[in-house]
């Protein structure tokens, strides 16, 4: 399962997520979605720290963020 997932069809390409990402792993895809925007995307999933800054800045509820459960004991 991906740590950070983009519902690209909702993305308006505003880039606020990219600017907020401390890992600088969000890029705007060269393709266009059906609304005509270059959607935000992440290819280096393993570098995501699940901070959710991107999701917090996204005005369009594009992003779902997950993290691994901490192993107890």
């Amino acid at each position: 399962m991906l740590r950070v997932e983009f519902d690209e069809e909702r993305c308006k390409g505003c880039e606020l997520c990219a600017a907020a990402c401390p890992q600088r792993i969000i890029v705007m895809a060269p393709r266009l979605n059906t609304m005509g925007f270059h959607p935000a995307t992440v290819t280096e999933q393993e570098r995501c720290i699940s901070c959710a800054f991107c999701a917090r800045m996204c005005p369009d509820v594009v992003i779902t963020v997950r993290k691994e459960e901490k192993k107890r004991g």
């Binding site: 399962m1 740590r3 909702r10 308006k12 390409g13 505003c14 880039e15 606020l16 600017a19 907020a20 925007f37 699940s50 959710a52 800054f53 999701a55 917090r56 800045m57 996204c58 005005p59 369009d60 509820v61 992003i63 779902t64 963020v65 997950r66 993290k67 691994e68 459960e69």
Partner: protein, 249 residues
């Protein structure tokens, strides 16, 4: 894997009509998250304004009423008086709240209506085409202030939070911004507080959220965030203007 961030239940899956980078979307989401966290979705009635957020009723997964321009606090008053046990909030822009609806907001506050108001201040009229707002900064360009707002002929921007904080009926007044993740987190905290104040029946609560309008400011979404930080915050300082007196432990 556990989900740390997804769409709150109090938002519908509808795509918004807002321009790319418009922070209305962030503020909608914060309100919805707070309603979810307080577990009041089924007891909440929202009031959508006239302005860019006129279609807010399509985005909040709640009972909603659409108000005439500026009248949301009056509509909220009517609802709250009928259902004093429900959570009632208005979502209003700067033209709605600080121009045509000034009387309604001032008097809802003066009556200490037990409602919550989310006041989105982006210093411009978005929906009608970038006209000067009551909160447009001196020198800021607008379609009805093409050379920038001239204080001599067009007066000065209104600081609504400061005005409302002077009114005895208000319990909580805060100004926040959403220009970076840290400020978004603070904004959410303030919005939550404003709903809690209502649940505790302490009085009128309002959160003014400084917001961007990339389209009508003529800036990219990122440049708009920077402009907000550099130009709006000095005139509209962030912080809590008023809070109930009891000390929180």
């Amino acid at each position: 894997m556990i989900t740390v961030f997804e769409r709150p239940k109090s938002l519908t899956p509808a795509k918004t009509h807002y321009c790319p980078g418009c922070t209305h979307g962030i503020i909608h989401r914060l309100v919805a998250e707070v309603i979810d966290e307080l577990d009041v979705r089924e007891d909440t009635i929202g009031i959508a304004p006239v302005g860019c957020s006129v279609l807010a009723y399509n985005y909040f997964n709640l009972d909603m009423q659409e108000a005439a321009h500026g009248r949301a606090p009056a509509v909220a008053t009517g609802i709250k008086r009928v259902h004093p046990d429900k959570v009632v909030f208005t979502y209003q822009g700067d033209g709605d709240l600080a121009a045509i609806g000034t009387a309604e907001i001032i008097h809802a506050a003066a009556r200490g209506e037990k409602i919550t108001t989310i006041f989105v201040n982006n210093a411009i009229y978005g929906m009608t085409g970038g006209q000067m707002a009551p909160t447009t900064l001196v020198g800021q360009e607008a379609t009805t202030a093409p050379s920038g707002r001239n204080a001599e002929t067009q007066g000065y921007p209104v600081r609504m939070s400061e005005i409302l904080a002077t009114i005895q009926g208000t319990a909580y007044i805060a100004r926040v911004s959403v220009h970076n993740p840290q400020e978004v987190a603070k904004a959410k905290k303030a919005i939550k507080k404003a709903f809690q104040i209502q649940l505790e029946r302490k009085g009128f609560a309002l959160v003014e959220v400084l917001s961007t309008c990339p389209t009508n400011w003529g800036l990219t979404p990122l440049a708009a965030m920077k402009w907000l930080q550099e130009n709006m915050i000095p005139y509209y300082p962030l912080g809590v203007q008023k809070t109930p007196e009891e000390v929180e432990v």
